[in-house]
Symmetry: C2
Subunit: 745 residues, 2 copies
């Protein structure tokens, strides 16, 4: 009897032990002992934080920021520009709403200014040398803000000094074709003064083209047809409306390239090698001066000569003629000439960038870079302080969450306030030259908000394909300003849309040229970039740009009354940018959709086939390898997309996701080739480098074809076409190779 | 009584249950269900695996590999070269000892060959055109292996065809100074044939320098003084000793650059743009032919004219004279001339690289790249098959562990067998052009083993500073071949050492030029690289290189009998390379010690100050910014080293270590600047680009100083000196910036 009891007890004991073992193994979670959980635990975008940020971004605060920022002119390197550097540093070091750290980086850069002692003048001079008529030297002080010593006289930055005098001609936009037309009309251009209008070609190119034809000096004005929907009277223009008043003059840089002119490819620190002024290329070759349309009317409406072509006519209220010289029956004698006296000076000045950072909690070596330039021509309320006002509000909201301990982003967020952008994207370019490798290796994306609001109709985004999806995601979730209950996305798509073979109807993103500080990031460093703003309803205005652009009328009141009363569009831009920043900094999987490049490549390819195919065939150049390369890219990008989807379904390891994110982040770099365009400055991106033609296709290929097609070219020019084709093929194949599973050869 | 029993039973049951729970929780390891534990669990170098690999690498197998590899000549693109491609693929796809995958990549490259129908000849021709004397057209068949159709005739690859004939002169090494000396001696060089000896300057440069002085054709020979410690008789040379027999001729590429000549910067795939032959620069401008010293003796020892300078004398057994023409009292009449008839042909040929990969278990997107070229001039037992034999044994041992499931490296290991290296590092260069971005972003280091054993005295390593420490660590743990119980390290330090301010006496690493396939990796891609081999005891021989280099006498028996009987030096190289591979692929913290760059920078700086300081001061150029930049680098590198040490004491998160490792891996890239040397081909590394002077300092700076110091230079040349200085300063400052804590601005 004893042994059955013992047996029973034994069995029972064993059963209990076994049960305990099972319970202990499976039911009680093991406590991980090594790395701190917050470091390695996969974080993802916190929708509550996103919601909070969207709600915190305040239109009134943006308005107050703008009021302060645009209170005084803040030209690059001026005392007020320096004050704003301090303002930024103060805000970004604020213990309650500041960032982790902030610092100013100063460069010594070559800027250009009119002389304070001798203002630039444009006079009509009689045969005996007497001044018959003077154009205005400054803009009219209509609001009390256009006077004052800090309102820099209208001038063409980097135009050389000189006093050319000659008969006046009218040269439309001042393109090469425009000057050829004048020659065809039998007009002798040698020694003339050419009056041109803004638009059609870059500022500096007008002077370059003019000089090639022997023109001695150039004037540039803004035509009411281009800027004011034809309106021009004081009652129809600012301060009574949005439009440009008759004395308004657009300032601007007339330098051909971007970056500090003396230190190409080197940061403009004091010790860097500087070019001799004599060896600097890119400055306009002849004296140039911008004037207002009131002055332009006085000149142009008195010109003699043939009628200007229809497309050259504008809205000055008279019939435009070409010259040369004035009509005897007009206001000036036929032998009067125009004297353009420019006294600009080149000066080395200190210009600072201000950088502020929120360190990433998990991947601090991944940067989401957000930039806006700080310097203006005069008050710069729209350009750039609308963007600076948004920048300050964004950093305040994020900084507040940071300082409260509520949130820290996964990746680092770097805010940048660029200096001397107006002179040629100088601050941003010097920054990319100084920190080339560090930025190229670590920057997830660059977000630029220069002018935040051109007008208040709709969002407008320029960017490279990988950023399209995060912009869409962000804007679908934010309410559009204005009546109704549309999202920004749904409003946007009504103004800018395209038919995507993949997605159907979607908003269309523009491409990135060199209009603002994204240029060195996309073209020199190959970082996926975007530019965000609110803009016009093109069905309501044909204004080339907001009418007071670069004038002394770009003031706080202009924005407050006409551009964005209530500042809801500013707020919309802040929310859009803020949402994009958070998605890029906090999402576990980087929201860069590289497969969206396939559409662009396919579209470029088709355009190349249509536009260049026949010509290439004539020269026995086949686009076959390009077709193959595009297909390979499409396939690899699609396959990568699939692998990402699979991974997203499970609980992937942070290292695995890191490796994948590296592929996404670095894809844009694959399109960079510093040896592709040796005659260009900085441009190295084989898809987005400056294109001479209008067809949207591979720039190196189409530019080379255009050159080779010139009747004067020889076989070397066709060899260059082949080389450019190979460069693109190699880049696309190389890009595809980076998208393959990482351990596949 | 019942209730005490029940209580007792209950307590006992609870105890058992509790015990079971405890056992179940702690004693039984949890099986991870989501990511495989090996993925995120920090791995580190497994010393047992290292030990095993060291023990498995077998000298006999290396010997047998070599026997097979060198059995037949395997010139680039020949059928036997193709056979070896298949051999490699077979070995690397072997189910028991192969890799994860292997693939051949074929390029279409421009090679150069002598004509099979018309061999190149060098004749002495009498005044009536009769051939008085012919040099040998092939090497003597002393072992039975020098005959046969696959033994390519000695020739100068890429030398143009032609039949120049003229009086013979002796031009020493054929340097610019040598030809100037002949001019100073009053010798008319126009239309002559110049006999030069190997050494002193690159092969192709001899022809370039000669042509500049009007020379019509060039002969190149190997002097017994330079290769044989003066010995020259058949009994004293191979097959009776290590030395070069009298008929031996060094072949080689006479092309100036590296990479496929027709496709600079583009991969030589069929569709790539190719230069017109007329537009290819870098080929020797005049017919050139190498000859043996037996033939050279016949020519040189019969020359007329002045005595050659003492330093021009050699060991042919006669007093060298300069010519022009032969001594009347010699073997040939004074009016005889030398005719050099070259019938070389340029041909497009297919040449393959073979790539094999072991995928990393944790960080498959990090590549440890190990390469050796496969193609030879003739049997190539030393060059390159000694290295190929090592490659095969390394991949066998690692592949075996892989296939058994014993081990998988943390990072990926990529084995590469390069084609067409002998013609100008072609296979490796095309590979870097094709996969530029992928390689640059992911390659931890490149290890080159071309010739594994030049001689069996000591290890010899060339490399960039970051790899020094892993080479030291590896070699300290491996026994040196030979008697005694020294480590490879302790033997090495006796032959190559330097006094380091940081470490005291250590072995010295040489720097990387363009002598083998590491060149595109370090100069074009900026990847930390090294070249490993065993080499001579320089106190025992002054041979410029192992005597049968590039001749038909470089055979298996040569290695087996004279170079490394027993193959213990081959095994030592295999172990060294294997240990380095494992340390790079498996160590948690990458063993790249970036702070070791500080010594080099400091040394370059001091050399610049000493050698160039005064000259620069004369031109108001200050080295101050360079001093600051070096100091900044030193400080950041040291600080990073400290942070690494701190991290290594704890249990750091894999992501943290990944971020740090990225900084270490990418440091070398910071020194790359593709715009630094526009007139060079591929060279972009501001520390290691080709230097014209002998002082070890910053090449751009010292080259520019040398050019500027030339009496013919103007102020532009000094501007270039300043630019080069700024380039280095910017690179060092940029490098330092990448070493800062990653979220510091």
């Amino acid at each position: 009897m004893q042994w059955t009891k013992v047996l029973g007890l034994g069995l029972g004991a064993a059963a209990l032990l076994g049960l305990g073992i099972i319970l202990g193994h499976f039911a009680i979670p093991k406590k991980a002992n090594s790395p701190a959980p917050s470091i390695s635990a996969p974080q993802d975008l916190d929708l509550e934080i996103l919601e909070t940020v969207m709600g915190q971004l305040d239109a009134h605060r943006i308005r107050e920021n703008l009021r302060e920022l645009s209170r005084e002119p803040h030209l690059a390197s001026s005392p007020r520009d320096e004050d704003l550097v301090q303002l930024l540093l103060q805000r970004w070091k604020d213990p309650e709403s500041g960032l982790d750290s902030a610092e100013a980086f100063t460069y010594e850069v070559l800027l250009s200014f009119p002389s304070q002692e001798q203002p630039n003048v444009v006079d009509i001079v009689g045969p005996t040398g007497d001044i018959i008529h003077s154009c205005h030297r400054t803009e009219e002080n209509v609001t009390g803000e256009q006077g004052g010593p800090d309102v820099i006289q209208p001038y063409a930055a980097y135009a050389p000094s000189g006093n050319p005098q000659g008969l006046l001609v009218y040269a439309n936009h001042g393109t090469e074709d425009d000057f050829k037309e004048l020659q065809t009309q039998g007009i002798k251009l040698e020694g003339t003064i050419a009056l041109t209008r803004y638009g059609g070609v870059g500022r500096g190119d007008k002077a370059v083209n003019a000089a090639k034809h022997g023109v001695a000096g150039v004037l540039v004005y803004t035509d009411p047809a281009d800027i004011n929907d034809g309106l021009s009277s004081p009652s129809e223009t600012f301060p009574n409306s949005w439009y440009l008043p008759p004395s308004g003059v657009e300032r601007g840089s007339y330098y051909k390239y971007f970056g500090d002119p003396l230190t190409p490819y080197l940061p403009a620190i004091p010790s860097s090698f500087r070019l001799d002024l004599a060896n600097v290329s890119g400055f306009p070759p002849i004296p140039t001066q911008p004037i207002g349309f009131q002055d332009a009317r006085d000149l142009l409406c008195n010109l003699n000569g043939t009628s200007a072509p229809t497309t050259w006519q504008g809205a000055l209220g008279c019939h435009y003629r070409l010259g040369p010289g004035f009509r005897p029956d007009g206001n000036f004698s036929a032998d009067s000439q125009v004297n353009v006296s420019v006294y600009n000076r080149l000066e080395l000045r200190n210009s600072s960038n201000v950088l502020g950072i929120i360190r990433g909690a998990v991947e601090p070596d991944r940067y989401v870079l957000y930039g806006n330039h700080r310097d203006s021509w005069v008050h710069g309320a729209v350009d750039p302080s609308s963007g600076t006002a948004v920048l300050l509000e964004l950093s305040r909201v994020l900084g507040t969450l940071l300082k409260k301990g509520t949130w820290r982003p996964r990746r680092s967020i770097v805010f940048a306030s660029w200096g001397a952008e107006e002179f040629g994207l100088i601050g941003s370019t010097e920054f990319t030259e100084e920190f080339f490798n560090k930025l190229q290796e670590r920057t997830v994306a660059y977000i630029n908000v220069d002018i935040a609001v051109f007008a208040n109709a709709t969002l407008r985004v320029q960017g490279t394909p990988p950023v399209q999806s995060v912009v869409f995601s962000a804007t679908k979730e934010i309410r559009s300003p204005g009546p109704g209950d549309l999202s920004i996305y749904d409003n946007w798509i009504r103004y800018f849309n395209r038919s995507s073979p993949v997605y159907g109807l979607v908003p269309s993103l523009g491409s990135l040229g060199a209009g603002s500080d994204y240029a060195p990031f996309i073209h020199f460093l190959g970082i996926s970039s975007m530019d965000i703003a609110y803009t016009y309803d093109r069905s309501k205005t044909s204004a080339r740009i907001y009418p007071t652009y670069h004038t002394a009328f770009d003031t706080f009141d202009y924005v407050d009354k006409f551009l964005d009363p209530g500042f809801s569009s500013h707020q919309a831009v802040a929310r859009t940018a803020g949402s994009i920043i958070l998605r890029l900094s906090d999402s576990f999987f980087l929201p860069l959709k590289v497969s969206d490049y396939s559409e662009t490549l396919r579209s470029f390819l088709q355009a190349a086939q249509q536009d260049l195919g026949a010509l290439l065939e004539q020269h026995s150049i086949s686009l076959g390898p390009l077709v193959t390369a595009v297909e390979k890219f499409e396939a690899e990008a699609a396959a990568l997309g699939q692998r990402i989807s699979m991974l997203q379904k499970g609980s992937p390891d942070p290292l695995q996701v890191r490796m994948l994110n590296d592929q996404l982040m670095l894809l844009e770099r694959s399109f960079l080739n510093p040896r592709a365009f040796p005659e260009e400055r900085y441009y190295s991106h084989v898809l987005w480098a400056a294109r001479t033609g209008s067809v949207a296709t591979f720039p190196g290929l189409s530019n080379a074809c255009a050159r080779a097609n010139d009747t004067a070219s020889g076989s070397e020019a066709w060899a260059e076409v082949q080389r450019q084709l190979s460069i693109v093929v190699t880049a696309l194949e190389g890009a595809a190779a980076t998208l393959r599973p990482v351990a596949d050869l």
